[in-house]
């Protein structure tokens, strides 16, 4: 079989990156407060139980376990820090990091002084709310929830013109893949969060995996729209504690945006697949700096996608996951465990254990904009015969932020899907360039090299265009 330009058609047609950010963003963001909101007017650390700023996923995402729809801090980060041209004020630390010929084109940053905008205290914010509300210009978030907010609730004005704490937030996420002469959608997500009263949020994320016409005709699995996430959540409790119930992906390890990584795909954590979604309950807390997420759930069998809209569509069997660790400002470590118990016909029992960590020397060394993360997973699974075996996978990635909005990436995957079997392991290397020219737009190009234990080494060039709000 001859193969020419279309090196990754098969791969990419079955790819569908999920609307997740990356733990790398969180790891980088501890350099300065202004990544997530305009500089504080006066700053005193709130009591630990009330502190919202930490390195955990809930700082930027509606879902405290990470991924999907961003909250106001996440949106501010996407406008101020991530792109080459900022549409919210650029953090002072990054003023001298603009790419050549792009320097100081963003009109949102004054570049002559760091002028904070937000109110000093929550009480002051409430007094100024009318005035601040008039200044808001946020077409993707509306209203203010009823009821009494938590102490040090989200301050209007702290996120420039974004609505800090909306009743209704609508998002959008579109990923396109480019292959030779083909451009086609990989993923479309439309998340909606409703926050009618303080401490209560409903989130529904409706999404579809990408496909081309050929793929739809030949692949038997359903790729229509479905609820990727659908849950109700009680949150904004002391120590950022929460409880949510509904459909979600269990919290385990690093929530990578590259779902094809073996640390996701081999352990039923591939965020692109409906089969990875479970229905259950998750609790968690994130006091500075420890964090804990724990879930109990039921799921469809390993080879069956659950119902598109029926989040109660599960088979026999159950699972449970725990994810805990410590996220300091320049490093973090964590450990995860997950078990699934079900019959052989439904995929068999699995037990998975993971260790992961992130290092961000950039926080301490301004001339070293480097971030590194790794995850090592191992565990047992049952083959279709009923016999148990073990599998191993790990992932490591380094990012170098050359300029604002321009990042070089080097990643390495390894997997041994069955430790009893000879010659089934693979290494994969990726060399990539990520460019975010403007808020809500990221171009990601990667040269990927697959080195199987036997046979030929394979390579491809994969380009992804990501648009989000």
């Amino acid at each position: 079989m001859r193969l020419t330009h279309v090196l990754v058609v098969a791969a990419t047609l079955s790819l569908a990156a999920t609307a997740q950010a990356t733990p790398m963003y969180a790891a980088r963001s501890a350099r300065t407060c202004e990544n997530c909101h305009v500089g504080p007017n006066k700053w005193e650390n709130p009591p630990l139980a009330d502190r919202k700023c930490n390195m955990s996923c809930q700082s930027c995402h509606v879902d405290p376990a990470g991924g999907g729809m961003r909250n106001t801090s996440g949106r501010f980060f996407g406008q101020s820090t991530l792109p080459m041209i900022a549409t919210s004020p650029r953090p002072t630390d990054d003023w001298d990091r603009n790419a050549p010929y792009f320097g100081r084109r963003d009109r949102a940053t004054s570049y002559d002084a760091n002028l904070p905008v937000g109110p000093n205290t929550f009480a002051e914010a409430m007094e100024d709310f009318e005035e601040l509300s008039q200044e808001m210009a946020d077409g993707w978030a509306r209203g203010t929830p009823q009821g009494k907010p938590s102490a040090y609730g989200l301050l209007q004005g702290r996120y420039e013109r974004l609505n800090a704490d909306p009743v209704l937030r609508v998002g959008a996420d579109l990923r396109l893949a480019y292959l030779g002469s083909l451009i086609f959608p990989m993923q479309i997500d439309v998340p909606v969060a409703v926050h009618p009263v303080h401490h209560l949020t409903f989130l529904v994320n409706t999404g579809v995996r990408g496909r081309s016409g050929e793929y739809a005709e030949t692949y038997t699995k359903d790729h229509s729209f479905y609820f990727r996430e659908a849950f109700a959540m009680l949150h904004e409790a002391p120590y950022q504690a929460y409880i949510k119930a509904g459909r979600f992906v269990p919290s385990f390890g690093l929530r990578l945006d590259d779902h094809t990584s073996r640390i996701r795909r081999s352990f039923e954590l591939d965020g692109a697949l409906a089969e990875s979604r479970v229905t259950g309950v998750e609790i968690g807390a994130m006091p500075n700096y420890p964090f804990l997420n724990a879930s109990w759930f039921r799921m469809a069998s390993r080879t069956r996608a659950p119902g598109d809209w029926d989040i109660t569509d599960v088979d026999d069997g159950w699972g449970s996951a725990i994810n805990a660790g410590f996220r300091e400002l320049s490093w973090s470590v964590g450990a995860s465990a997950m078990i699934r118990r079900r019959s052989i016909d439904e995929g068999g029992d699995t037990s998975t254990y993971g260790l992961y960590g992130v290092l961000n020397p950039w926080r301490n060394h301004r001339s070293l904009p480097l971030t590194y993360q790794f995850e090592y997973d191992t565990g047992s699974l049952q083959r279709a015969s009923g016999r148990s075996t073990d599998q191993v996978a790990f992932y490591q990635e380094a990012n170098y932020v050359a300029w604002n909005g321009v990042t070089l990436l080097l990643a390495h995957d390894f997997s041994d899907p069955d430790t009893e079997i000879i010659d089934d392991e693979e290494h994969r290397l990726q060399l990539g360039l990520q460019v975010s020219p403007y808020a809500g737009v990221t171009l990601d190009g990667r040269f990927r090299l697959l080195m199987p234990a036997v046979g030929q080494t394979g390579s491809d060039l994969f380009v992804q265009m990501h648009f989000y709000r």
Binding site: L3, S330, G357, Y372, D418, I421, I422
Partner: protein, 136 residues
């Protein structure tokens, strides 16, 4: 503390780069019951559907097929440089020699950096071939 973490993470990175697999036997030797001794085409076809047919659409192309007899999908595949179509049992059998070479000898399909077929998938195809490539 940061220095300690830097050293620790550097050690992890190096250890991962030099990792290698374990195991010294084939799946057929370790767990012969994991796949039916004589798989049906119904058990084989989903493997082709997932890993091959997204590119190898239609039934035309390949050594056994004249270009002027190709179906529309086959012509498109030829334009894209992906041939033959493998969307039927007959098309798979017609191109079995190439399939064996790519999947079992060169281990280069699916292409690029896409994960290759699993040992279980390969064993299923191997036993189907050994069983006489029945299409029923």
């Amino acid at each position: 503390m940061l220095k300690l973490m830097c050293r620790l993470f550097a050690g992890v990175a190096v250890a991962m780069m030099v990792a290698c697999g374990s195991g010294d036997r084939t799946l057929n030797e370790v767990d012969p019951d994991v796949v039916a001794q004589k798989p049906s085409f119904a058990q084989v076809y989903p493997i082709f559907q997932r890993d091959c047919i997204p590119c190898h659409t239609g039934t035309g192309g390949g050594e056994e097929d004249e270009e002027d007899e190709e179906d529309e999908a086959g012509k498109r595949n030829r334009t894209l440089g992906v041939e033959p179509g493998l969307e039927s049992c007959a098309a798979i059998i017609n191109n079995l020699e190439d399939i064996v070479e790519d999947v079992f000898i060169d281990n280069n399909m699916p292409p690029g950096a896409w994960p290759r077929l699993t040992t279980k998938e390969k064993l299923t195809i191997e036993r189907w071939i050994d069983g006489g490539t029945q299409c029923d």
